[in-house]
């Protein structure tokens, strides 16, 4: 039998025992670690912002001599009085509402569907992810081919099914829906995956208990599943909303805002103002309004949510 026998301690003899190398404090250490990243972020986030702010108060028509004198709030007034601007806002909101709405509904349904499947879950998940890997600008471009009225596959299939074959990208009534369908294709898997992860991370025991307590499926969904899933659903909805409001790539490659300006979103109109009309002043004013709207709106919703997740992570 062995016994525990660490070497006998040298009996403590005051301070010589301790190497009193006083290093920098935790606070300094932690600040040093974030400094490089902070500098980059501050510089490349705040400088452009400041620049945009500056330009938004000046006259800056790049076709006429670049940045010039201070004009106060004129640019903001112009923007707010601009019908095209408001139309782009409306388009953006309509797009966001329907795209995110459909993605949420379909995504949640699909998540539940996949969760109930027992065989081949990994394969299903892998295939579902694929759209998320692709560049929207690239696949969007290819969707133009799929939407094509002459040799597009979608109309071919619709024709086979005896359904009307719309002019997806050319019809002013349908073009926005063509964008929405593309966005749903691209992002519905995102919603489905996250809700699925949420479903799978729910504790098993309460559901087993409910089963033993004889609760109906509907009751379990209503009192347990959805309430427990709510934070995840909120998070997804908010992330998707922020993204949808910023929609640019798909518009740029699929419709270029057309037909006419019917699918022109805020970001696309902003781009056009700045880099086609070269009205940097108005574009900057628009950018700041937009920024303010998106950030303030979304972050008030996002912060408590993320904090909640962070707190939960801390408990682990």
């Amino acid at each position: 039998m062995s016994t525990i026998s660490a070497e006998t301690n040298p009996v403590s003899t005051g301070s010589e025992r301790r190497r009193r190398g006083r290093s920098i404090s935790d606070t300094w250490f932690s600040v040093l670690l974030i400094t490089p990243a902070a500098i980059i972020i501050l510089f490349f986030a705040l400088v452009p912002l400041g620049y945009a702010l500056n330009v938004s108060f000046r006259q800056a028509d790049l076709t006429r001599g670049g940045i010039q004198g201070f004009v106060g709030l004129d640019n903001y007034r112009t923007v707010l009085a601009d019908d095209y601007f408001w139309q782009s806002v409306r388009t953006t909101l309509v797009f966001t509402f329907f795209a995110v709405g459909i993605e949420m509904v379909l995504g949640i349904a699909i998540a539940f569907l996949i969760n109930s499947v027992t065989v081949g879950k990994t394969l299903v998940r892998s295939l579902l992810i694929l759209p998320l890997a692709t560049a929207p600008a690239v696949t969007g471009l290819f969707w133009r081919y799929l939407y094509d009225t002459q040799f597009g596959l979608y109309n071919y299939f619709l024709g086979l099914a005896g359904l009307p074959q719309p002019n997806w990208l050319g019809d002013i009534k349908i073009a926005l829906w063509a964008l929405i369908v593309f966005d749903v294709w691209l992002w519905m898997p995102f919603v489905a995956l996250i809700v699925l992860a949420g479903l799978q991370s729910l504790p098993k025991e309460p559901f087993e208990a409910a089963e033993l307590d004889g609760a109906s499926t509907y009751r379990i969904l209503r009192t347990l599943t959805f309430p427990m899933l709510m934070p995840v659903l909120f998070l997804v909805a908010i992330l998707r909303t922020i993204d949808a409001l910023r929609l640019y790539d798909a518009v740029a490659v699929l419709t270029r805002g057309g037909p006419g300006t019917i699918t022109e979103t805020m970001t696309f109109y902003l781009w056009r103002t700045g880099l086609q009309f070269f009205r940097m002043d108005q574009a900057s004013a628009m950018a700041l309004l937009f920024l303010y709207g998106v950030i303030v709106g979304s972050l008030f919703a996002l912060r408590p949510l993320l904090n909640r997740f962070a707190a939960r992570a801390g408990e682990r």
Binding site: M1, T3, P203, E205, P206, E208, A209, A210, E211, L212, D213, G214, A215, S216, R219, T223, L224, P227, M228
Partner: protein, 364 residues
């Protein structure tokens, strides 16, 4: 209430056999404990009884009805979970009311019943809280209350008090045992803590590696273990084992352990032929006596390794050659580390096991 019968129950997860063909019966109104170390298959067994897990083979009967194909919600089983399994989105009140609402009770009757049970279990102050705001002990009681609020065919408890501190654990032990006496529910209690099983159960099923090692009353399991596993698993401090061979000397049948000859008890002297030659003797630390007087007869001699003073007695660990034995001694026994001591074993409490198979071979 119902009696439960398991018939050759098997459960495998892929290639892993968690339960390897077990059979036993729980009488109507009986309190049965399933005891075993983690991974012995006890939880799988209980989950199959509840219907939360499908059986791989074998049958489960409630009274005389085969229930393998009956869904969990239709078996009328109440269960208390190790992790409480409270509904995190509902208040304590709604948690307790949940099974009643599932059964479509009228809300006045639900209210009445919930108030009644929370009164008995001293939960009235907690009814408006959410599960996240409860201490472990409170959550535990609510889990129990939720299970008790209805009248199930069988009441299953899965390690229900393992997360409580000593004080609360003893209180819940008393409470659960008392509850059983009052209500006479059929109860199955799964635990890895031998003391809990001993203290509460009418009968204990000891499981190990998916098999039943012994079924018996606490006394039988403690005093007449069926094999060396049961002997070693039940009892605190754990039983001492001495391995050796049987020898005849001077007409006495003895166990040769290291250099010592320990005579077998009278009752076994005449059974020499039926005993295996290689044998393992088990004796609990309560029945080994320290002999400080060198002139008294003794069975073993060794050196004190460590003395631990507990509240009402000491546990002395003694190295006999390279085997460490434990002895329970009164507080008045003053022995020192490294001291040489003699030990006398009480023949009445010696238990013998076949060294090869581990099976019990005879009582002292």
């Amino acid at each position: 209430m119902a009696s439960i019968t398991l018939e050759n129950l098997v459960k495998h997860y892929g290639a892993v056999e968690a339960v390897r063909g077990i059979s036993f019966q729980v009488e109507d109104g009986e309190f049965l404990a399933i005891l075993g170390p983690s991974g012995c298959g006890k939880s799988s067994t209980m989950r199959m009884i509840a219907g939360l897990e499908e059986t791989s083979d074998g049958g489960i009967y409630y009274d005389d009805k085969l229930v393998n194909a009956v869904r969990a919600r239709d078996r009328n089983v109440a269960m208390a979970f190790e992790t409480y399994a409270l509904y995190p989105t509902l208040t304590v009140y709604e948690n307790i009311a949940f099974p009643l609402r599932s059964a479509k009770w009228k809300s006045e009757r639900v209210d009445e019943k919930v108030r009644e049970i929370s009164h008995t279990m001293e939960l009235t102050d907690l009814l408006d809280r959410m599960p996240g705001e409860l201490s472990g002990g409170q959550a535990q009681r609510i889990g129990l209350a939720r299970a008790l609020v209805r009248e199930p065919a069988v009441f299953l408890l899965d390690e229900p008090i393992s997360h409580l501190d000593t004080r609360q654990r003893h209180r819940m032990r008393q409470f659960i045992r008392h509850l059983h006496l009052e209500l006479q529910y059929t109860m199955i209690y799964v635990t890895h803590d031998q003391e809990e099983a001993m203290a509460m159960a009418d009968r204990i099923v000891v499981m190990h590696e998916g098999l039943i090692r012994q079924i018996g009353t606490p006394d039988e399991v403690f005093n007449d273990p069926a094999d060396d596993f049961v002997a070693g698993f039940v009892g605190e401090p754990p039983i001492n084992f001495l391995e050796g061979s049987l020898v005849q000397s001077n007409g006495t049948l003895s166990l040769r352990f290291r250099g010592h000859l320990i005579p077998l008890p009278e009752s076994l002297q005449s059974r020499g032929d039926s005993l295996p030659s290689e044998i393992k003797m088990g004796i609990r630390p309560f029945y080994v006596n320290l002999r400080l007087d060198p002139d008294e007869p003794y069975d073993l001699a060794g050196e004190v390794f460590v003395v631990e003073t507990l509240q009402d007695f000491c546990i002395v660990s003694i190295d006999v050659d390279d085997e460490r034995l434990q002895v329970v001694a009164p507080l008045s026994a003053r022995v020192q580390r490294r001291e040489r001591v003699h030990l006398k074993l009480d023949p009445e409490f010696m238990r013998f096991f076949d060294l090869q198979t581990g099976k019990a071979v005879g009582l002292g």
